[in-house]
């Protein structure tokens, strides 16, 4: 049934950024050369990823074995690229280029220290992200997941001050702690239960295993909490804590790569480990649904009370991640497809918002929402992009966010879970409530008395260009979502 092509393309895509690491370190004295390396690696990576798209669209999967069956466990480390992995890889690798551009502007604008370390670990974490996207079995997935946690830690603690250290400590203890405490036993249990099979190829790993509602729910929640990058409550606090990182890190890693890796893993677990049939039979997915629904509503409410712009974005991200988890937990084809699409849609919207927050900080040094009055007049591009990002995340036309949200709501209706459908709708309203006042402040409130306009201008072009492009991307996805539809549709059986 499954026709797979063996190819080294995914390996090269993953290696492109990994090989850039030594070069970046080598060119640590030559700033321009170093940043050129990052760029070239980014384009090369995107090139490899794009080269795989036609193969995937033919309905094939690309497989590569990196390490033949690890001795003792008999599970190889292998890549297996399918529609879902492709979607995620496309999003991550295209946004990396823009983030690199943005990072250059941001880091130079603030004259940050240790930029070499920053770019090197950035490239490393991108490799880990693609590793997760392409992972062909649970073990590979887990290994790259942990590599990502470790390689982003120096980025989160970049400032090396007290705040950064405590943020970094929270970050690592949540991510490593939950993965050791929940994910490892869950994987081992799966391993024992399935008789040593962890591969995503073929039918779901636990298909046909005997589970009750309770045991299924325990295992599913162990996975969902174990991959705590997905930000399910109560294991979400690492995300606001990690906002001490420089904004490009927050933007790419905490709006796109890291958090999306979390939900990506949850999607893989639901579709690849349990399989929708099994969950449908034992109803365990309802537990995950309600935990996610709770997270959606609660995080939206918390977001409303945050004055720090990045923290508000962080809580918004937590809510949006649970949209995705809720979507896949609904198990209906539309909801699952919607949640896969939402990975991409939300990524473009949220990265725009983070870029804007960073640009405001670079240009004015402002971190708090209450300080943003009247900024729209001096920073029209930035605040305009912010408005588009907010529209996309809220899920209004003409942005991509609308499409995925329609699918999610549709899926909830299919599942006849009207309470959960209401959760989607209520939270969309809440999204609007906490985003649009910011836009209103920026464009329609006057500057506070006594504040001068001189000296405040747009952020450097290296910051403004990427955020304009991502905002543009959000709109573009509304009009041309074809590729995304096709890629995600590949993952839905029976379509």
């Amino acid at each position: 049934m499954e026709n797979s092509v063996s190819s080294l393309l995914p390996v090269w895509a993953c290696l492109a950024s990994l090989l850039a690491v030594p070069l970046i370190v080598l060119f640590r004295k030559e700033e321009t050369l170093r940043e050129m390396t990052t760029f070239i690696a980014g384009f090369v990576k995107l090139g490899f990823v794009l080269a795989m798209v036609p193969i995937i669209l033919e309905g094939k999967v690309i497989t590569t074995q990196l390490v033949p069956a690890i001795s003792g466990i008999n599970v190889p480390i292998e890549f297996r690229v399918d529609g879902l992995g492709m979607t995620f890889a496309l999003v991550a690798s295209s946004l990396w280029i823009l983030t690199s551009l943005y990072a250059i502007g941001y880091m130079r604008g603030l004259k940050e220290h240790s930029q070499t370390r920053f770019f090197a670990f950035f490239a490393l974490s991108l490799s880990a992200t693609l590793g997760v996207a392409f992972a062909g079995n649970l073990l590979t997935l887990y290994l790259f997941y942990e590599l990502l946690s470790l390689s982003t830690w120096p980025l989160v603690t970049h400032h090396q001050d007290k705040e950064a250290r405590s943020g970094g400590r929270t970050y690592l203890s949540y991510l490593l702690g939950t993965s050791i405490a929940f994910a490892i036993p869950a994987i081992l249990f799966t391993f024992v239960k399935s008789g040593g099979d962890l591969s995503f190829a073929g039918p779901a790993i636990l298909e046909g295993a005997d589970f009750t509602f309770l045991s299924g729910a325990c295992l599913l929640m162990a996975f969902a909490f174990g991959f705590s990058k997905a930000g399910l409550m109560p294991f979400h606090s690492w995300l606001p804590g990690a906002m001490v990182a420089p904004t490009p890190v927050s933007a790419l890693l905490h709006a796109v790569a890291v958090v999306k890796v979390g939900v990506f893993c949850v999607i893989r677990v639901v579709t690849g480990v349990f399989g929708t049939d099994l969950l449908d039979r034992i109803d365990s997915h309802l537990v995950l649904c309600w935990v996610a629904a709770f997270t959606v509503v609660t995080s939206s409410l918390i977001a409303m009370s945050q004055d720090n712009l990045k923290r508000r974005l962080a809580f918004s991200t937590i809510g949006q991640l649970s949209y995705i988890v809720l979507g896949v937990a609904l198990l209906t084809p539309h909801a699952v497809q919607g949640s896969m699409m939402h990975i991409a849609m939300h990524a473009f919207g949220k990265i725009t918002l983070f870029f804007c927050a960073g640009a405001i900080f670079v240009a004015t040094g402002k971190k708090y929402i209450s300080q943003l009055d009247g900024l729209g007049k001096v920073m029209p591009w930035t605040m305009g992009a912010f408005a588009i990002g907010a529209i996309s995340v809220t899920g209004l036309p003409p942005t991509g966010g609308l499409l995925s949200k329609i699918y999610l709501v549709w899926g909830a209706a299919d599942a006849q879970q009207y309470a959960l459908l209401a959760v989607y709708l209520i939270s969309s309203v809440l999204n609007g409530v906490y985003f649009f006042p910011i836009v209103y402040r920026a464009f329609f409130r006057p500057l506070p008395a006594g504040q001068k306009l001189e000296g405040i201008a747009e952020a450097p072009p290296a910051c403004v260009i990427p955020l304009t492009l991502t905002a543009f991307g959000s709109v573009l996805l509304f009009f041309f979502p074809g590729l995304l539809f096709e890629l995600t549709a590949l993952m839905i059986p029976g379509e």
Binding site: Q160, D161, G168, I184, P185
Partner: protein, 516 residues
């Protein structure tokens, strides 16, 4: 030559010790080459033993051809369970010997020959324990290694070390005496001291095997060995003894002594009493697993409370002993727990060695005793730091280090035996280890007291002052540390082969045929 391997293993370091005792007093330069050469001979023989075991199965060797029951033969037995352990002892002892060059002697050089002869005798004891096929010879060899370790611990200049050594003597002697008493009961019931024969008698006469005297002898032997391996709650002697003794002594004792005792326990369980007999009543094995769970949790928590690096590592050993004892007693159908336990003996030896070598280098070069003294370590000594990190990751259980795979087998055993408390304890201990070591990494990476404000203070971080000892070559310690950390990773990568060897050993035992 190959048929003399068991003898060579033990005799090479024994003669080395003799030569050092005779000639080393006059010329200290003799000590080190003799030590290295004799240990290398043993290591070579250990490799030979592995090859021989893989090729043609178990090796039984009778010293001087005195086969039992004519005399009290010295029966040496090598199979695929203890052959890897021999290699581990060989490698650890060679690496620590390299690490110890002039380290013990730099304050009072007249002790150098004493150190090396004790060191070699310790190796004789350890090799002997591993291959002893006779319950009483085992006692003598345990005492040989214990006596030398008392000496090695008391050699340091620390007053607390002397006190700790005294306590260790008392505890160790009580432990050995309990073991001896247990063996006495065994002899009373079976009339022989040869492990294989005792086992055969038990299999042939179920009424003897089920008698109270045999049960009591088993309990006495277990208590004796548990004292020796510092199993909770009998661990009191260990932390002070291993943390206040000279670094070289700690580096050889910490990786090997407790681990070999665990092996002795497993050997007694498998080879003397038989697994069916030991696991006959699940109540007892559940009790031991619960004790192991408490050991793991208590060891981890106590480690968390320590401020000194070596003390912390010592409590981690207590926790690791809990891993191995618990794993051995899981009694799951396919014996994955026991497999994991045997594999963990090797893995834990490698990673403990790694960490203690690193701690020794910290203490020697930077005078860093407490965790807080490690500020700026990554800048000052990147290679040592790298070795330490590898050891720490193995302790946490990060793949591809051996720590991950031993936890994998142990947890698998725990799941299959439905001992969820053991699984939980292992995970909690991994978490605690992660907290412990990341706390150290943080201090070593960022410095202890971060200046307020934003970045730009890397230059101020490195407070660590290198104590300059021109006469001590620093590369010896670092290179053995790096080799040790490479072994930690290699053990992980080739875990399948090692486990296969262990499984062959388990399958060889007749009572397993039905289980596997």
């Amino acid at each position: 030559m190959t048929d003399q391997i068991p003898a060579i293993l033990v005799l090479a370091p024994l003669f080395g010790a003799l030569i050092i005792g005779l000639a080393g007093q006059k010329d200290h330069r003799v000590c080190f080459p003799v030590t290295i050469v004799s240990l290398l001979v043993s290591l070579f023989a250990a490799f030979g033993a592995v090859v021989e075991v893989v090729r043609s199965g178990e090796i039984d060797y009778f010293m001087g051809g005195w086969e039992e029951p004519i005399g009290i033969g010295i029966h040496l037995h090598i199979d695929s369970l203890n052959a890897p352990l021999l290699v581990a002892i060989g490698i650890v002892s060679v690496l620590v010997a390299i690490f110890s060059i002039r380290r013990i002697g730099d304050k009072n050089t007249e002790k150098t020959p004493h150190f090396y002869s004790l060191y070699l005798m310790l190796c004789v004891g350890l090799f002997g324990i591993t291959i002893a096929g006779d319950a009483f010879n085992l006692f003598v060899l345990i005492e040989v290694s214990s006596l030398t370790s008392y000496g090695l611990i008391a050699m340091g200049s620390s007053r607390r070390g002397t006190l700790a050594a005294f306590n260790y003597v008392l505890m160790g002697t009580v432990g050995a005496s309990f073991y001896l008493l247990g063996v006495g009961y065994l002899y009373l019931m079976t009339g022989t001291l040869n492990m294989q024969e005792i086992h055969t008698i038990f299999l042939a006469n179920p009424d003897i095997a089920s008698s109270k005297a045999v049960a009591i002898s088993f309990i006495l032997i277990l208590i004796g060995i548990w004292i020796k391996m510092a199993f909770f709650p009998l661990y009191g002697w260990l932390p002070n003894a291993y943390s206040y003794c000279p670094s070289s002594s700690a580096c050889i004792l910490a990786p090997l002594m407790t681990k070999i005792s665990v092996y002795v326990m497993i050997r007694v369980m498998l080879g003397v009493f038989g697994i069916e007999w030991v696991f006959a009543s699940p109540g007892y094995s559940n009790l031991v697993v619960w004790l192991a769970v408490i050991a793991i949790l208590a060891g981890s928590m106590l480690a968390l409370a320590q401020r000194e690096i070596k003390k912390m590592l010592c409590y981690l050993i207590v926790a690791e002993v809990g891993y191995m004892v618990g794993g051995a007693w899981l009694a799951d159908e396919k014996l994955w727990g026991l497999t994991g336990s045997l594999y963990h003996i090797l893995g834990d030896a490698a990673m403990t060695l790694c960490l203690f070598l690193a701690a020794g280098i910290f203490a020697k070069r930077f005078n860093a005793i407490e965790i807080e003294d490690l500020e700026g370590l990554f800048k000052k000594a990147p290679w040592t730091a790298a070795g330490f990190v590898v050891g720490a990751l193995a302790m946490i259980g990060v793949p591809p280090t051996c720590g991950f795979f031993s936890k994998f087998y142990l947890i698998r055993g725990g799941i299959e035996a439905n001992h969820w408390e053991f699984v939980v304890a292992l995970l909690v201990s991994s978490l605690v280890n992660a907290v412990l070591f990341f706390r150290i990494f943080e201090i070593a990476f960022f410095g202890n007291k971060p200046p307020e404000g934003h970045g730009h203070h890397e230059e101020e971080v490195a407070e660590l002052k290198e104590e300059h000892h021109p006469e001590i070559p620093t590369w010896t310690g670092t290179s053995s540390l790096l080799v040790a950390s490479a072994i930690v990773i290699l053990l992980g990568i080739f875990n399948g082969e090692i486990v296969e060897l262990i499984r062959i050993g388990l399958e060889d035992l007749p009572q397993f045929a039905s289980r596997l």
